[in-house]
Amino acid sequence: MSQVHIASRRDFLKRALTSTALLSGTCGSALLTAAEPGAAQAKSKVVIARDALLRGTGSTVDSRRMLSLLDRAMQALFDRDDPVENWRRVVRPGDSVGLKVNTLGGRGISSNLQLVEAICERLQEAGIRAKDIVVWDRDSGEMERAGFRVSVGGNGVQCFGTDGVDYEQDLALYGSVGSRLSKILTQRTNVLINVPVLKDHDGAGVTIALKNMYGVIHNPNKYHPNGCDPYVADLNMLPEIRTRMRLVICDATTAMYDGGPAYKPDHSWKENALIVSQDPVALDYMGWQMIERKRAQKGLKTLEGEERAPRYIATAADAEHRLGMNDPTRISRVEI
């Protein structure tokens, strides 16, 4: 399939100014050497970092322990001790960094607030200005219901939904996908840190990193047939997404093994973990296996048994897409 972007000449020039370096494939920097999952020789690393005491004695995640958990996860991913140094491998001063959170599930199962704050803290220490960080999802109201505080303007971290800025007029096209992208993605940020949650999904099987990108487009409802396959993979092929996504930090503090995507307390569990990778496919594969293990513990059928295995993960890894690894022998799993 060819990639086409319908755009006016003016749009093209504007884009050229902002994103040609990113479109060059190598992304024009050494930042992403570990993030090029297509590189045939390398294994993709997925770190699963846990802290049994993440919530102390209560139910709320302790923010200091979260920061420390995030640091440990990043240390394991990049093999370096200095937390800030690790972040400098992901971002550079001058970057505008978007944190795409997932807030569909309300307070029960949305990207963890303490995690988002910890990421923002380290990003600033790595030289990103607070006002160049945007915490975002598709809808501000949804973000508020999940506990985020909408904030626009000023020098602080920005926090708002695409409803406030709208989607691009032009369609971004790849394969089965033709969608308008959030202007937060295209105009406000050159780096995307994907901060999904780990949960079961009624139609897609699971929703983790790759499917979180449904919150980036104006017409996600068009891409749910056939277990979201090949739509999820095609969507993640859009250069505007693919070239920006440098890191996935999946919030698995609370996860769901059935009944998603809406929050079902009876079907959730406290994993008290973060899953971190630069390969969204490998991360999704590992997350899927975690959900399957929990389903087995609970005596539920496999997702395959329920005819809703997330086939889109394999599609994302296939020869056409090469978005990452789904072969467990090519994934280096690090549990700490």
Binding site: G147, V152, G164
Partner: protein
């Protein structure tokens, strides 16, 4: 609004300004922390108008405008708060907090809602010929309206900016059913037309507006893809005075690949409309290379003749490159003429060529004596010679709804 130095849970609104600068008693961590949590402030978060490059073009509506949200008809409740939509043949199974394929129906806690009742994103007074309906009150105008959304995704859609969008993504007005009838009357329209996007997905509104219209002496017509379940079709389109169906091709593969739908249910809808006795006209948009073979035209014409009869008007219309099919050319007029010749040869009485201004095949001719009975210029009927529902020259009955 929060600022950089705000802290977590429990903070009151008044404190925000006082802590807007670093160095007012916060430790370094609190300063770096972005305080994205709303804590006690949840709910007071005003959606401020943002600065440059960011949300300055706030055009979207709040998602929860309760006036537009009405429990949907045509669905079944399932376990685990799921629902199965019974409106269109797609039969979306929709989990809690999710929407169907159409994007305008949402499951909220196991109850399915339409989000677009009375939520009008486009309204115009159009000639009825523009729908096109050629055998229905020629020379009159229709009060034409649409909501966002569609249950298919045609790659050639001319109105994709409203059909392939969620209702909260485009501006809309609240136009309840009574107001539709009033506006139609005020604008001299004997007819309300549900059109532009896909009325299947706003069926509840169609039904209520049609009732309000009929009480006020205003008719209703629908311009639809016919991709709808039989029960819903009978309930919603049963209230229509005339129907125009876009039969987008005569092949399942085209429906699958170009429309994201299915042919068979559309053909079934056409048969059901015939049984209901609804005045129905068919439009076939001819897309170069994709649905323009002789065999397909012939198959279509034969199917119409066998299942609906020779008197159903069939319009072959010209494609213009749009949306996801910008790589194809405009349909050559010769292709449309070929389609018409094939359908004529199969014995259909009223085969038209559309979207080609000035073409003689946009006029209506008596199938018996060949006299021109309705002359059309642009989108209006400039001459209507039909008398007593027939040809004034040979008295051949001409089917249609000719008089208000």
């Amino acid at each position: 609004m929060f600022r950089q130095s705000q802290v977590l849970e429990g903070e009151s609104e008044e404190m925000h300004g006082a802590r807007s600068q670093p160095g007012c008693g916060l430790d370094r961590r609190s300063f770096l922390k972005c305080a994205v949590a709303s804590g006690a402030a949840l709910g007071m978060g005003e959606l401020a108008q943002p600065a440059v490059g960011s949300p300055s073009e706030v055009g979207q509506q709040k998602q929860d405008d309760a006036r537009f949200i009405v429990e949907a008809r045509f669905y079944e409740k399932q376990k685990n708060l799921r629902i199965k939509c019974k409106l269109c043949p797609r039969e979306c199974v929709v989990g809690d907090r999710e929407r169907g394929y159409c994007g305008v129906r949402e499951n909220r806690g196991g109850t399915y809602y339409t989000l677009v009742h009375s939520r009008v994103c486009a309204a115009h007074v159009d000639p009825i010929e523009k729908k096109p309906l050629f055998h229905y009150l020629p020379g009159t105008v229709a009060f034409s309206l649409a909501t966002a959304g569609c249950n298919v995704n045609c790659k050639f859609c001319q109105n994709w900016d409203i059909s392939q969008t969620r209702p909260e993504q485009i501006p809309a007005s609240y136009v309840p059913p009574q107001m539709v009838a009033t506006l139609a009357k005020q604008n001299g329209c004997p007819t309300i037309a549900y059109t532009y996007s896909e009325p299947v997905i706003f069926s509840e509104y169609v039904m209520d507006a049609a009732d309000a219209g009929h009480e006020a002496g205003i008719r209703s017509i629908v311009v639809s893809n016919g991709y709808i379940q039989e029960e819903a079709l009978k309930a919603a389109y049963g209230k229509m005075d005339a129907v125009k169906i876009d039969l987008k091709s005569f092949s399942e593969s085209y429906y699958r690949n170009v429309v994201s739908g299915q042919l068979k249910p559309v053909l079934e809808s056409l048969v059901t409309l015939k049984k209901l006795g609804k005045w129905t006209e068919i439009v076939y948009l001819v897309v170069p290379t994709l649905n323009d073979s002789d065999a397909e035209f012939r198959g279509l014409a034969q199917w119409v003749k066998t299942n609906l009869g020779v008197d159903v008007p069939l319009h072959f219309t010209q494609f213009h490159p749009e949306y996801l099919l910008k790589n194809l050319p405009i349909t050559p007029v010769s292709t449309l003429e070929r389609a018409k010749a094939i359908a004529d040869a199969e014995g259909l009485h009223y085969v038209y060529i559309g979207n080609v201004p000035g073409h003689p095949s946009q006029n209506t001719y008596c199938p018996k004596c060949r006299h021109m009975l309705v002359e059309r210029v642009g989108f209006t009927a400039s001459k209507v010679l039909i008398r007593k529902n027939g040809c004034p020259f040979c008295h051949q009955p001409i089917p249609g709804i000719w008089n208000a």
